[in-house]
C-alpha cells in the first residue's frame, strides 16, 4: 500500500493550533503586570518606597486580634461606636444606615437614614446621635427618630460626635471648629476657633478626619490633625494642653494629617488610629507612647503591608476605632467594611 506523505489530518492540525493558542494565551495572562510590580525601569530614587516603615517591632505589639473579622455588610462604612451602658454590642454607621451588632457579629437592629452618615455616638441613656453631612439626628433604641437638629451650613462636614452629661460636641471638619450643643440641640458655644489672645492656633484639617471625645478628667480632647496632636479644651473653649508630634517613626503621627480617629480607655489612655501607614497605637493619659495595637501588616492581613494603589482605596483608608467595656479595641476597616477585635496580651 502506497503511503501519501504530503497529507495531514485536519483534526490533528486544528487540535495542535488550538493547543498552541491556548498555551500562548495562558502564558500571556500570567505574564501580565496588573499592578506594576515588574517596575518601570526607573532608578530607585524615583520609586516611592515606605515598606521599611510598615515593619513593627514585635516587642511593641501588645494587642492580639481575637476571632475573625466581623462583616458589617456595608459597601461604605464610616464610623464605629460602643457604649459602656450597653455592654456586648457595638454600633456601625455606613451607606445610609446605622447597624447594631452583638460582639459575636450578629446584627441586632438597623436604623435607616436618608443620607450617608459621617459619625455617630451613643449616650448613657441609650440614645443614638448620628452626624450626617451637616446636621445631627437623634434616634431611640427602637430606631425611631426623635429629633433633627438644624444644619451647620453647606460648608459643614460632620466627622465626630461625643455626648457627655448635658453636652453634645460635634466636630465640623468643613468649618474647622467644634460645636458645643445642649441636649435640646441649641448651640452653646464654638471651640477651637483661632484666637491669639487665648493662644489657640486653630484646627488644621486637610482631609475630612477630625475626631473628638471627652476624657475622664472632664476635658474635651480634639485631634488637630494637620498639627499632629491631640488638644485638651475646657467646655468653654480654653486650650489647656496638647500632646503629639509628627513623625513617620512609631512614636509619632505620620503623614500630613494624623491621627484620624481615637478612643479613650477607662484609665484615660488613648487608642489612636492613623491613615497612610495604618497604625493603631496606645498612648498613656499624658500622651506617652505605650505600644501598638496593630500595624500595617496586622491591619491589611495575610502579612501584607500595602499602603494603597488606587486613589479610592487611599481615601477610604481612615479607619475608625472604639473601645468596649472590657477594654477591647474595635477597629472598623473602612476598606473591607469589617470590624476587627483586639485584646491586650501584654504590658510594657
Amino acid at each position: 500500500m502506497k503511503k501519501n506523505f504530503g497529507t495531514l489530518n485536519v483534526r490533528i492540525l486544528s487540535f495542535g493550533v488550538i493547543a498552541v493558542a491556548l498555551v500562548t494565551a495562558v502564558v500571556a495572562l500570567l505574564r501580565l503586570d496588573y499592578i506594576g510590580e515588574k517596575g518601570s525601569g526607573l532608578g530607585k530614587e524615583f520609586i516611592y518606597d515606605i515598606e521599611s516603615l510598615t515593619k513593627i517591632d514585635p516587642e511593641l505589639l501588645i494587642y492580639q486580634e481575637s476571632g475573625g473579622a466581623i462583616s458589617t455588610g456595608f459597601t461604605q462604612s464610616s464610623a464605629i461606636a460602643a457604649q459602656k451602658n450597653s455592654p456586648g454590642r457595638f454600633y456601625v454607621a455606613g451607606d445610609s444606615a446605622v447597624k447594631i451588632f452583638s460582639e459575636q457579629g450578629e446584627m441586632l437592629d438597623r436604623i435607616n437614614l436618608e443620607t450617608p452618615p459621617g459619625c455617630l455616638a451613643v449616650g448613657n441613656d441609650g440614645l443614638i446621635y448620628v452626624g450626617l453631612k451637616e446636621h445631627v439626628e437623634i434616634f431611640n433604641g427602637q430606631s425611631n427618630r426623635l429629633a433633627r437638629w438644624p444644619g451647620l451650613g453647606a460648608q459643614a462636614v460632620l466627622t465626630s460626635i461625643a455626648v457627655y452629661k448635658e453636652n453634645v460636641f460635634v466636630a465640623d471638619a468643613g468649618n474647622r471648629v467644634v460645636v458645643r450643643y445642649d441636649k435640646a440641640g441649641n448651640i452653646v458655644n464654638y471651640i477651637g476657633t483661632k484666637d491669639e489672645e487665648k493662644g489657640i492656633q486653630g484646627f488644621v484639617v486637610p482631609s475630612p478626619y477630625f475626631d473628638l471625645a471627652v476624657a475622664g478628667d472632664g476635658l474635651l480632647r480634639v485631634v488637630n490633625p494637620g498639627r499632629h496632636r491631640i488638644e485638651a479644651y475646657t467646655f468653654n473653649g480654653d486650650l489647656e494642653f496638647w500632646w503629639g508630634k509628627a513623625s513617620a517613626h512609631i512614636e509619632g503621627f505620620c503623614g500630613c494629617c494624623n491621627p484620624v480617629n481615637f478612643a479613650i480607655l477607662d484609665d484615660d489612655s488613648f487608642i489612636t488610629c492613623e491613615k497612610g501607614l495604618k497604625r493603631v497605637k496606645l498612648y498613656d493619659a499624658d500622651g506617652v507612647f505605650v505600644g501598638v495595637v496593630a500595624g500595617p501588616e496586622q491591619l491589611t492581613g495575610a502579612g501584607q503591608a500595602r499602603i494603597c494603589d488606587l486613589p479610592a482605596q487611599c481615601r477610604a483608608g481612615g479607619f475608625d476605632v472604639a473601645v468596649n467595656t472590657e477594654g477591647r479595641v474595635l477597629v472598623l476597616d473602612t476598606i473591607e467594611n469589617t470590624v476587627r477585635v483586639f485584646n491586650r496580651i501584654k504590658t510594657r
Partner: protein, 206 residues
C-alpha cells in the same frame, strides 16, 4: 502538479483519485492556499482596523484616568518621546496646603523645608511657597517633571490625592499605538474625546 522533495512531476492517476478524497485530508497545496487566504483576510482586517483607528484618533486623544492610575512609573519610561508627554498636575481645590506635604517631602524628612535632602522629587520639580501659618502652596515645574509619579504616590498614600498624572497635549504625538498605553498595568491610559482632553480630579470633601 505536485511539489514533492523539490521535484516537479505530473500527478499520477492514483494521486488524482486521492485529490477527491474526504475533506479531512489536507495536502500541502491546500494548506498553502489556506495560508494565503488567511493572510489576505488578516491583512484586510488590519487595513480596516488601521483606517478605523486613524479616523478615531483624529477625534480622540490619549489621557490618564486619575482614579485608575496607580502611578507605577511606566509613563516616564515608555513614552516614545525622550521626555515623556505625561506630567504631574495639581488640583488645587483638593489640596490641603499642608506644611508636612507627603507629595513634596520625604517620608522621614529631617526638616519641613526646601532642602534638597528633604524633597521627595528627585528632579526638584515641585515648588513650595509659604501662604500663611501653617499653609504652603505647591506648584509643578513641568520642565523638570518626568512623570514618574513618585509625588503622586506620596500624596495619595497620606494626603488628599491632589497631585496626579495627565498627558500634556502640547507634547503628546497622539500615536495610534501608544507605547505607554500598551505598558499601563491598570488600564488607566485611554482615549478620550478631543473636546474634553483632560480628566480633572473631583473634590471629594470640603
Amino acid at each position: 502538479m505536485w511539489i514533492t522533495a523539490g521535484i516537479i512531476r505530473r500527478a499520477s492517476s492514483e494521486e488524482q483519485v486521492k485529490m477527491k478524497e474526504p475533506k479531512d485530508i489536507i495536502n500541502r497545496r491546500r494548506f498553502l492556499r489556506g495560508c494565503i487566504r488567511g493572510g489576505f483576510l488578516a491583512g484586510l482586517a488590519g487595513l480596516t482596523g488601521g483606517v478605523t483607528g486613524r479616523a478615531k484618533s483624529q477625534n480622540t486623544v490619549w489621557q490618564i484616568d486619575p482614579e485608575i492610575c496607580i502611578a507605577c512609573g511606566n509613563c516616564a519610561t515608555h513614552c516614545v518621546l525622550e521626555e515623556s508627554a505625561v506630567k504631574c498636575v495639581h488640583a488645587y481645590a483638593m489640596c490641603g496646603y499642608c506644611d508636612l506635604c507627603t507629595g513634596y517631602l520625604m517620608p522621614e524628612a529631617k526638616q519641613l523645608d526646601t532642602g534638597a535632602e528633604n524633597e521627595l522629587c528627585p528632579n526638584g520639580a515641585i515648588k513650595r511657597t509659604f501662604v500663611e501659618d501653617p499653609y504652603y502652596e505647591y506648584t509643578i515645574d513641568e520642565s523638570l517633571c518626568i512623570g514618574c509619579g513618585k509625588c503622586v504616590k506620596g500624596c495619595n498614600a497620606f494626603g488628599n490625592g491632589s497631585l496626579f498624572l495627565q498627558v500634556r497635549h502640547d507634547r503628546c504625538l497622539n500615536c495610534n499605538e501608544c507605547s505607554i498605553a500598551a505598558a499601563c498595568p491598570s488600564g488607566a491610559f485611554k482615549r478620550v474625546d478631543i473636546s474634553e482632553p483632560y480628566i480633572p480630579k473631583k473634590v471629594g470633601h470640603a
